[in-house]
């Protein structure tokens, strides 16, 4: 039983160390992707003609295998975490840019007209009206980007043990210890589910203004946000 968590020494990490590393390698790219996607999406909203080419480019980037990225990047960033995180960042754009653009565009015309008529400047209007209303769409995009990023980190194992939990898959083969593969897959899946649930919770907390699905039973009062969050990924 202990074999599941007996991490081979070549990985230079404990089980929890690997989890920390995995989360860092998966989440930092999504964060970087969000930082890139926000201004990019804003440009696409303002200049309508820009959206189709941007969409095209992000999709093409997504089609490039990570291995090909690594081959190119190793010359510059070496066998490092950065080499893993750069492709992941770019991959996240394919989900995040459309999510933000659609979210911002979904703000009703009347709301925008009202904001303009009340004397909101373009920047203030974007930050105080459009972005908050786009939060549900943005978080929906973040959920997809995060979960896919968590699963993709594993390929980092190909460039010298930079795959965090994914390294366990390689070690499972090297040392003929299949239980390590089980640990890797199950832990990665649980991480993905937990982070996803966390994002749903964040959304619920950020958007008290969204109509909640009211429970059909009249006796049930305000639903507990945490319970709602855990139920939500099933949607």
């Amino acid at each position: 039983m202990s074999g599941f968590f007996d991490i081979p020494s070549d990985l230079q990490h404990s089980y929890f160390g690997l989890i920390g590393l995995h989360l860092r390698e998966a989440l930092l790219p999504v964060l970087a992707g969000l930082v890139l996607a926000l201004p990019l999406a804003q440009l696409c909203v303002r200049l309508r003609w820009l959206y189709p080419p941007v969409l095209w480019v992000t999709t093409v980037i997504y089609a490039i295998p990570s291995l090909a990225f690594f081959v190119v990047l190793i010359d510059y960033t070496g066998l490092s975490e950065i080499t893993v995180m750069i492709p992941l960042t770019l991959y996240s754009l394919v989900v995040l840019v459309p999510a933000i653009v659609d979210g911002v565009r979904s703000v009703p015309q009347e709301t925008l007209a009202a904001a303009t008529a009340m004397g909101f400047g373009p920047v203030r209007r974007y930050v105080q009206v459009q972005l908050p209303i786009a939060v549900p769409a943005i978080i929906a995009g973040l959920r997809v980007a995060t979960v896919s990023s968590i699963s993709l980190v594993s390929v980092g194992t190909l460039i010298g043990n930079q795959g965090a939990l994914g390294n366990l898959l390689a070690d499972a083969m090297f040392y003929h210890r299949p239980e390590l593969a089980v640990t890797s897959v199950v832990t990665t899946a649980v991480l993905a589910i937990l982070v996803d649930a966390l994002l749903v919770l964040v959304r619920v907390l950020l958007t008290p203004w969204m109509p909640r699905r009211t429970p059909t039973k009249p006796k049930a009062e305000q639903p507990d946000p945490a319970a709602l969050a855990l139920k939500d990924p099933a949607r």
């Binding site: 709301t111 925008l112 009202a114 008529a117 004397g119 009206v129 008290p208 203004w209």
Partner: protein, 378 residues
Amino acid sequence: MDSVTKRYPDGTVAVDRLSLEIPDRTITVLVGPSGCGKTTTLRMINRMVEPSEGTILVDGVDVQKQPVNTLRRSMGYVIQNAGLFQHRTIADNIATVPRLLGWSKQKARARAEELMERVGLDSSLAKRYPYQLSGGQQQRVGVARALAADPPVLLMDEPFSAVDPVVRKGLQEELLRIQGELGKTIIFVTHDIDEAIRLGTKVAVMRTGGRLAQFAEPAELLSAPADAFVEDFLGEGRGVRRLSFFPSEGLDLLTEPVVADGATAEQTAAAREASGAPYLLVTDGEGKPLGWSEPGSLPGGSPEELLPYGRPFVAGQDSLRVALDCAVLSPTGWAVAVDGTGRVVGVVSQETIGEAIRGAHAAGRKADGAGRKADVAG
């Protein structure tokens, strides 16, 4: 505050060389079919649309010469479907412009509460979000939000067209009440001519292509449409609708055919003889109407023997239109006039109302001649 003036010729089709002088502290309605440029006109006032030619003056100051956001914050704006910020509470929605103007949170909140009361919203709604409100309530919030910074000018773009007729009527009455209290300069856009006539102190009818067809008071619009387009746009029943503007005050009410419940045969016969009217109105002990007594029958029987009296009108308060409507609806052709408390003050026949209408028209024609010259259409 001086009178609000705007003048602009616009090269494009949207609004074509429109000149209007909008009187201060009144409701001016822009009305016309869709695509007639009424919304564009409204949006040029707060520069959401920039006029290509011409100038718009508010209080003698060119709107082009003011910083655009300062200008907009000095004008309330109400839009169709309210356009509330769905991510903010009702109180925060109302406090938007005060906050933009840099008011303290406390002051803005107090102002929001005050306004909720003014537009008839319960203060318990302050912490709610827009999705929890009905369409009519949302529209009230929209009005409150526009009034928040106490702007002298209120721009309203088809604010009530997305709610059902009953709610709309309530909102219209509320607007007139608020206007009576605050005396804003309101510019109101609608495609509903009845709404225009009900709300407008003056009504500007616009035609497709952004040209002004007629700018006049509602009564004049109904009595003397400038051309076939305006006449057509006003629709059917123009004559009857115009009666709304004639008071029922001067109506010759008859009191003879009114008898109290339990009157003796002699009293009834006397009443019939004195009035010469075929029907007698029977009232209860408090003077409230019970119903019409048919010729030959004695009042005082059970209420089932009486003909229903329909709907009474309030003498002096309701218009001739209401009085005529009551007479038409009444099975006897006679309308029942009551006072403010519902007590019968008299009855009046369709013929008498008809005479009053003819009299009012004759008086109206004389007044028209003077009024027409003041308004410039084109």
